[in-house]
Amino acid sequence: MSERQHPLVALTRTRILEFVREPEALFWVFAFPIIMALVLGFAFRDRPLDPVPVGVVTGPTAAELTQALTKAGTVKPAPYPSLADGLEALRTGKITLLVVEDAGSLVYHFDRTRPDARIARLEVDDAIQRARGRTDPSPAREDLVHEKGSRYIDFLLPGILGLNLMGTGIWGIGFSIVNARLKKTLKLMVATPMRKAHYLLAQMLSRFVFLVIEVAVILAFGVLAFQVPVRGSLGLVAVVTFLGALSFGGIGILVAARARTLEAANGLMNLVMVPMWLLSGVFFSSERFPKAAQPLIQALPLTALNNALRAVMLEGRSLPAIAGELAIIAAWGLVAFAVGLKIFRWQ
């Protein structure tokens, strides 16, 4: 006769050991989201505005025009010996706008459908007219803002957090269960007095251990490397991520409830996750989808999770403001867990 651990503790411990002894899993959970945030963060980082390349066709006033444009600083003038050469450069995208002074009037060649070309048209005209002595009836002053929280990385990081919670919840729990079923370890455990609820509970509990590390790593990375703001309370961020992990854990159990092969499970997981990768506002706002699709998109658990995370982190909202989102997340988790448990295939 001997002392024993509580089975729930033993099962949870086992899951954690299995996980940390799987280097690939560690990579996907911890390194991958950081690499993704790093790459995207640098790709879309804030840069000083590049001066727009503008062509100036050689002529009697060309030197004066070039000087005026250089002085304005918002465009970068380049000389072209003839109109034909300039138009060629415009066509091939080397310049955004071509200026030529023809019989006392300025002619601008540009593509009206390009917003940067339209801006260049205004800026070039403004620079030349001012240089030639135009005075504005009302003097204007510029007050520039540069707000942290409105950059792409600020938008992206909560999305990556949400994406990671979904991915590790569904993959982590799903593959582990299907693998155990496939190898019949599940069947072997069912032949012992182990309580089935303990097994599923341990799957979710072990997830929370990683969740804390996972979320902390991604958040710390965002805050330290990109100064992503956390305007709301950290406690509320914790509540949201905890609930999100619980919900996707439930969905993971549902997805893995019956699959007999890893291929079938993988297909099901993709079926569940891919639409949310695209629709739920991870990389770009879900508002961009047509209005008719919005009720559906807003009801997705990842949309609700991402919205809630952004509301707390970027807008500094408190609990009542995100109660709706939390209700959606919780409902998905509860329903998925209940159905999953009911239809679960133990052997």
């Binding site: 006769m1 001997s2 024993r4 651990q5 509580h6 089975p7 503790v9 033993a10 099962l11 086992t14 050991l17 299995e18 002894r21 799987e22 155990a180 190898k183 019949k184 370890t185 069947k187 072997l188 455990m189 069912v190 032949a191 012992t192 007095p193 182990m194 052997q347």
Partner: protein
């Protein structure tokens, strides 16, 4: 005394396939009982029904005086199960695996003790993935023993093992039985059944076609002895057919194998017949029938080549 297992009228059909087709069985407390038969005979389905893992289509199952259903958990505390082909988690060590299984039972055996019993101490901290086939199988049996069960189910415990590992497991199972516990095992190794089992049931097409102790089953054969010999030149069937007391006969690789009811009668008659035919004896050996021969006699088929 309550039988360890008793079941009647067990049936399990998978579509057209009648995996178990009306099977009655009683395993007495304290005995080791073997289900013997070729692959696909319905052994695994039967043992999994008895283990409460597969519900039968029909029939009554009583394990240790209790039925599956409401008393499942109580029953599971008293059983040990080792499944065919189930693989333990490769990332865990031997000790961790045993501790996990130990945690499922209210009362049970200490993992250190289990490792000692199954000669796994040296592998205490080795990952399951690094173990040899024999070590894994011993670990599977150790897991089945984690709850110190009264009744142990072993589905093909030594399939695929080398002779030494097999011998080691047999010793362990025998020791467990010596302690007064009951065992139900399936096997298609006749030697295993003869060494370990007090009684065996021969299963074919989901039914029991013979039951008894190995000795009884062998004694039940009309011709429980075998004579194997070769001659120069080879003799034809007509020489042997006339010998009295000869049962089945087969020729393989130039050697004859004859079944005989009595050696005392058959051997002198055989020698006389060979002498008359002018054939010189090159080799002659005899052995008693085995369960393998019982199976062939019962079904006309060999056990292992199915």
């Amino acid at each position: 005394m309550t039988p360890a297992i008793s079941c009647t009228g067990l049936k399990k059909h998978y579509g057209e396939v009648k995996a178990v087709d009306g099977l009655d069985l009683e395993v007495r407390a304290g005995e080791c009982f073997g289900l013997l038969g070729p692959n696909g005979a319905g052994k695994t389905t039967t043992i999994e029904i008895l283990e409460g893992l597969t519900p039968p289509d029909a029939g009554d199952v009583v394990i240790l005086g209790r039925r599956w259903g409401s008393q499942e958990r109580e029953l599971r505390e008293r059983l040990g199960v080792s499944l065919q082909e189930s693989r333990l988690t490769e990332k865990l060590t031997v000790f961790e695996t045993l501790s996990l299984f130990r945690s499922f039972y209210v009362r049970g055996r200490d993992p250190e003790q289990l490792m000692a019993d199954l000669s796994l101490e040296e592998k205490r901290d080795a990952r399951v993935g690094k173990l040899s086939g024999g070590q894994r199988q011993r670990l599977a049996v150790a897991c089945a023993l984690a709850g110190d069960p009264e009744l142990l189910f072993l589905d093909e415990p030594t399939t695929g093992l080398d002779p030494q590992s097999r011998l080691q497991l047999w010793e362990r199972i025998a020791a467990y039985k010596e302690a007064g516990r009951s065992v139900l095992l399936t096997t298609h190794y006749m030697e295993e059944a003869e060494r370990l089992c007090d009684r065996v049931a021969v299963v074919d097409h989901g039914r029991i076609i013979a039951q008894g102790s190995p000795a009884e089953l062998i004694a039940g054969l009309k011709a429980p002895h075998f004579i194997e010999f070769s001659t120069e030149p080879r003799v034809e069937d007509d020489v042997i057919a006339k010998i009295p007391g000869i049962g089945e006969r087969r020729q393989r690789d130039g050697r004859w194998l004859l079944a005989a009811a009595s050696l005392a009668q058959a051997v002198p008659a055989l020698l006389a017949a060979l002498d008359r035919a002018g054939a010189k004896l090159l080799s002659l050996s005899t052995h008693r029938a085995t369960l393998e021969d019982v199976f062939i006699a019962l079904t006309g088929r060999e056990l292992r080549d199915e």
